[in-house]
């Protein structure tokens, strides 16, 4: 197993600061005329997904987030990506660009692969020029041949995820958020995408937050591990300290 190590840099900057983060699912509750008639006077149900989480990550570090299902991992990732706003507390990215690695955002299946590179890329916050510069690299990496000129709906599911992965992997941001480490496509591409992922993650200036259930991946990639349990931080520290405790806890 190759253990990733950061160069010791004495004045590392903080890349992400999360302070006392609370996220509640409520407020906008779905209603219809019938439902509101029936539930007139009911109390609004609240679900506290995160209850005051605070942590900081230094630039270039890799943070893994673990915890059982429903402990708020994905919620936190989406909050950091700016898809949710915190109900209380703050998230400071210190002016860095951020993206949640997700596959095939904004794809229009009737259009060609090439057009979808632009649609998806612009949604991730890149300009047309930036995408044009990287277009060739994306197409080469996706490695789907002439299909790039054909509508996405004609793709096999493997080709679809290859293209989608290539877009998110080649268009890089300062901070990357990863919900489950992806490996997609056939055996060959799986290896290629996993290696690319590792390369992206281990870049010295890139800060990464990974949510995963695979403790092997976390151990292999992360510098630090944050253990969430029912919306609160149970433990934060080196993987070798946190993971054994977590395993023990999960066995109970």
């Amino acid at each position: 197993m190759t253990k990733y190590s950061t160069k010791k840099n004495t004045n590392k900057e903080i890349a992400v600061t999360v302070k006392d983060l609370h996220i509640t699912y409520r407020g906008l509750k779905k209603t219809s005329i019938r439902a509101s008639w029936k539930h007139l006077g009911d109390k609004v149900e609240l679900f506290h997904a995160l209850k005051g989480v605070s942590f900081e990550i230094e630039e270039g570090k890799i943070l893994g987030i673990i915890g059982k299902n429903g402990s708020g991992k994905s919620t936190m990732l989406r909050a950091i990506a700016g898809i949710f706003s915190p109900d209380k507390g703050s998230i400071d990215l210190h002016g860095r660009s951020i993206s949640l690695l997700s596959i095939g955002v904004g794809f229009n299946k009737k259009l060609t692969g090439r057009e979808n590179i632009y649609l998806s890329g612009m949604l991730l916050g890149f300009s047309e020029e930036e995408i044009a510069k990287k277009e060739k690299e994306i197409i080469d990496f996706a490695d789907i041949g002439d299909f790039i000129k054909k509508p996405v709906k004609t793709y096999s599911s493997g080709m679809y995820s290859k293209l989608a992965f290539a877009i998110t992997a080649i268009l890089e941001t300062d901070i990357m958020l990863i919900d489950e480490v992806l490996s997609v496509g056939d055996v060959k591409f799986k290896e290629k995408s996993y290696n690319k992922m590792k390369e992206l993650i281990s870049d010295d200036t890139r800060t990464v937050i990974i949510v995963s259930h695979s403790l092997g991946t976390i151990k292999e990639l992360c510098d630090e591990v944050l253990w969430l349990n029912d919306g609160v931080v149970k433990m934060i520290g080196k993987p070798e300290d946190v993971i054994p405790k977590y395993e023990e806890f999960m066995k109970q």
Binding site: L28, T31, I83, S85, K110
Partner: protein
Amino acid sequence: MKRFFNNMKKYYKYAIRSAKAELKSEVADSYLNWLWWVIEPFCFMLIYTFVFGFVFPNNELYFASFVMVGQAAWDFFNRMITGSVKLIINNRDLVTKVYIPKYILLFSKSLTYLFKMFISLGLAFGLMLFQHVPLTWHILLLIPVLLVLYVISFGVGMILMHHGVTFNDLGNLTNIALRMVFYLSGIFYNIRTRLSGTLGFILLRANPIAFLMNEARKVCIYGQLPSFEGLAFWLAIGILLCSYGVHVIHKYENSYAKVI
């Protein structure tokens, strides 16, 4: 409001590209392709002209052009309203995965609707030439009329888009409301001559669509000046609706992903 303009500046290129993409995908796999954008409004115009010109005869001058201009304006408004209610839910994949100011989605949609409206207006001009409608410079004043129509539709659209997220029945309610506005806007009859009493007076003042349709016909077909006070009034209302819509969306848009 400053945030709105900054976001617009940042995302308008995406909105345009996404609008183009949608138009392209709309015609990608139909036999007559983009011809449908022309055939559809033309056929609807023929139907209205037949039913309300021959079945219920009227003595409206240049009736086919009259219908076509009204229909172009109506279709735009109708599409904006219908489209906005389910917009967030239809874009679920996008909204839950990436941050985008939600009015950009509506803006992008509105571009595709504008495009279709201009096709209809092109048809209307062709029809006007065919019917020998005397053309005057007043037709240029169609631009402010359409601008007011756009601002009002965008404002109402944003508000409906917001409430459509949480309120399931909104689609049904807007359908009924739209049907009512459809018949009360005078797409295939002239409110001024048919409803000459107080009802017509009120409709032309309280229903912006009836008003704007009437103004559009004044400048295109009758070579008259529009009512500038009326336009200014509805523009002000439109801007108010837009500011409210932007405000509500800024306040709540980050919670949409939690609900849908």
